[in-house]
């Protein structure tokens, strides 16, 4: 421990108080939300007199919730496939040889990540109408895919920049042309980054409300459905849906983090 500069000697207690206050601030709402999903009453709030699993069984029996969930997953998977393909391609292009305008291209690529969601959603909506694209699944996938490309580019470029030049030279030296060396050496090296970026894109898409709301047709995605249900009044059913979504996404996120960390360590 002593090899780290003790910047905060004596402030330990104060700092840990701040830390725990932060943890409470973040997790208490989530814990409350989870607890309320088990309350045997139509109204959210204390006191809780009796407990039930009814809301959960209700969620899993609700055809609308199940199909909406499937719809959201399908959108997440398809938009992620597009983002990863396009993002990896751009990353390889930008990280390769130096060429004129490379920095400008990089800027243009990552800029969309900084545009506020509501603004890009409205822009997409207007543009989609102009192009004659109907609101619905295709439009949502398109918007999600475009929005997620910068994250893929950043993650894949970071990994690509650590690929030793000698790896590609060795492949060429042993008889691989540029395409074969890309497929057999570069791509396997990028796998951890591509997987990490994919998980991130899946979660971003699954979680997205603004773009899905503006570009959606008659079928809602899960966040849009939760929003619609909220308008007809808070009920523990929403807590149950949210809890299931929370557990799923957290599990995927934690697994992906550990998995990519292990893969990065191995190579």
């Amino acid at each position: 421990m002593n090899d780290r500069p003790e910047l905060f000697r004596g402030n330990r207690i104060f700092l840990s108080c701040i830390y725990w206050a932060f943890v409470l601030y973040v997790f208490v709402p989530l814990i409350l939300m989870v607890i309320m999903g088990f309350k045997d009453s139509n109204f959210i709030g204390f006191p809780i007199r009796s407990w039930t699993l009814e809301w959960y069984t209700g969620v899993f029996a609700d055809a609308e919730v199940i199909s909406t969930f499937g719809y959201s997953v399908a959108i997440a998977v398809l938009s992620t496939l597009i983002s990863v393909f396009v993002g990896t391609w751009i990353a390889v292009l930008l990280e390769g040889r130096k060429f004129f305008g490379r920095m400008a291209m990089f800027g243009l690529t990552v800029l969309p990540a900084l545009v506020p969601g509501i603004i890009s959603a409205i822009a997409f909506r207007i543009y989609a109408r102009y192009l004659g694209i109907e609101p619905g699944m295709g439009a949502i996938i398109w918007a999600h895919a475009v929005h997620n490309v910068p994250f893929v580019v950043l993650v894949v470029m970071a990994r690509l920049s650590t690929l030793p030049k000698s790896q590609i030279e060795a492949a060429r030296d042993l008889g691989a042309d540029p395409l074969i060396s890309f497929i057999r050496i570069t791509l396997p090296y990028l796998v951890p980054a591509i997987l990490g970026a994919s998980i991130f894109c899946l979660l971003l898409s699954f979680d997205d409300f603004v773009r899905s709301f503006f570009l959606g047709g008659y079928d809602p995605t899960l966040p849009v459905l939760i929003f619609a249900k909220l308008r007809s009044g808070m009920s523990p059913e929403i807590n149950a849906i949210a809890t299931v979504a929370l557990v799923l996404t957290a599990a995927i996120g934690i697994w992906a983090e550990r998995f990519t960390r292990r893969m990065n360590k191995d190579s």
Partner: protein, 361 residues
């Protein structure tokens, strides 16, 4: 070798990086089965030559002929040349066996042939036990052997080695040097080795090309380079030596007689004979100097005082002050145990004319 045509020929090779001249009109033949070492400080052009031979750089001028074919503009994948990289460049996601098979697969070999060849090379280099391991699971020495096996597997006409021992610790390096030399002998392959380590070059090579600032400084056997350096640069770069700076008195046959620190000494003449009266430098190795109680009857001799000593284990390096004012220094090796005392009594230092090389600067 009945075949007198060289395996590889480098013709008038130049390489410029912007305003920097990395390689300046290099011409060289490499014979089949030779262990050639390119030796020089960093930036001398040795690595550039290697990369041009491998196909990773294109020369600004000149040609590379391999097996009678002009390969100057061929990409690396089309040349019958393989390379052992400085960082080994093993593919991390492939096992040892997969790494070694990679080049064979790309040669279009059948599965059975690939297996046979990679097994053969793995047992040759004693890697059998590691076939299923990944590079991260190997030690530095093992990785080095895998890199060598991978480069040898496709049976290249010429093997390029880019300072492949740099990453190994000193003890292992000595062992690997012997191993490399013996592998080269047993495979009869032509090795093109690049290093900045003169000791490495001396122990392994049949022939050493000393490079300096993009040009060949001297090209010869290790013995020639060590005992008959052509220039001050070579004498300084290879081994440790005494430089004696004086003035030319005259030339006698293949010997140069020069004035040095109030005495006259004789050494072997360089390629270009110096004019009388010009300043000149001669080089004599530390182990060629001997201590005498009286002036030796033959050869060069000078009187001096032993002013210091350095214990080196197997021997002792003595510092001797010579000359009228005692400000010229010589260094000589003596036996570490019997030694030579440090003191004020004058001693005679002698060496044969044949053991001193007069240099062209």
């Amino acid at each position: 070798m009945t075949d007198q045509t060289p395996l590889a020929r480098i013709e008038g090779l130049s390489k410029h990086f912007g305003a920097t001249v990395a390689l300046d009109n290099l011409t060289l033949d490499i014979a089949q089965g030779e262990f050639v070492t390119f030796l020089g400080p960093s930036g001398c052009g040795k690595s550039t030559t290697l990369r041009i031979l491998g196909g990773f750089e294109r020369p600004t001028k000149g040609r590379v002929i391999l097996d009678g074919e002009d390969v100057t503009n061929q990409p690396p994948e089309r040349r019958n040349v393989n390379m052992v990289f400085q960082d080994y460049a093993l593919f991390p996601h492939m096992t040892v066996a997969q790494n070694i098979s990679f080049g064979l697969e790309l040669k279009g070999m059948g599965k059975a042939d690939i297996k046979r060849r990679s097994d053969e090379i793995m047992s040759f280099l004693e890697l059998d036990a590691y076939a299923g391991r990944y590079p991260v699971q190997l030690s530095g020495g093992q990785r080095q052997r895998v890199a060598l096996a991978r480069a040898l597997a496709p049976d290249p006409a010429l093997l390029l080695l880019d300072e492949p021992l740099g990453a190994l610790d000193a003890k292992l390096r000595g062992q690997v040097q012997q191993e490399l030399k013996s592998i080269q002998r047993r495979t009869h392959k032509t090795f093109f080795f690049v290093t900045h380590d003169q000791e490495e070059a001396l122990t392994m090579s049949d022939r050493i090309v000393v490079m300096n600032a993009g040009r060949v400084e001297q090209d010869g056997t290790p013995e020639e380079l060590y005992f008959r350096p052509a220039s001050r640069f070579v004498a300084e770069f290879i081994g440790e030596t005494n430089f004696l700076s004086g003035r030319v008195r005259g030339v006698e046959g293949d010997k140069v007689v020069m004035d040095w620190e109030g005495t006259t000494i004789t050494g072997k003449a360089p390629a270009t004979l110096p004019d009388a009266g010009t300043p000149v430098t001669a080089s004599v190795r530390l182990e060629k100097l001997g201590f005498h109680d009286t002036r030796p009857e033959t050869g060069n001799a000078v009187q001096g005082r032993v002013v210091g000593k350095t214990f080196l284990g197997s021997r002792m390096a003595m510092q001797i002050a010579v000359g009228d004012k005692g400000d010229a220094m010589l260094k000589a090796y003596v036996d570490a145990e019997t030694g030579q005392a440090v003191g004020n009594e004058p001693v005679w230092i002698g060496w044969e004319a044949d053991n001193m090389a007069v240099l062209n600067d």
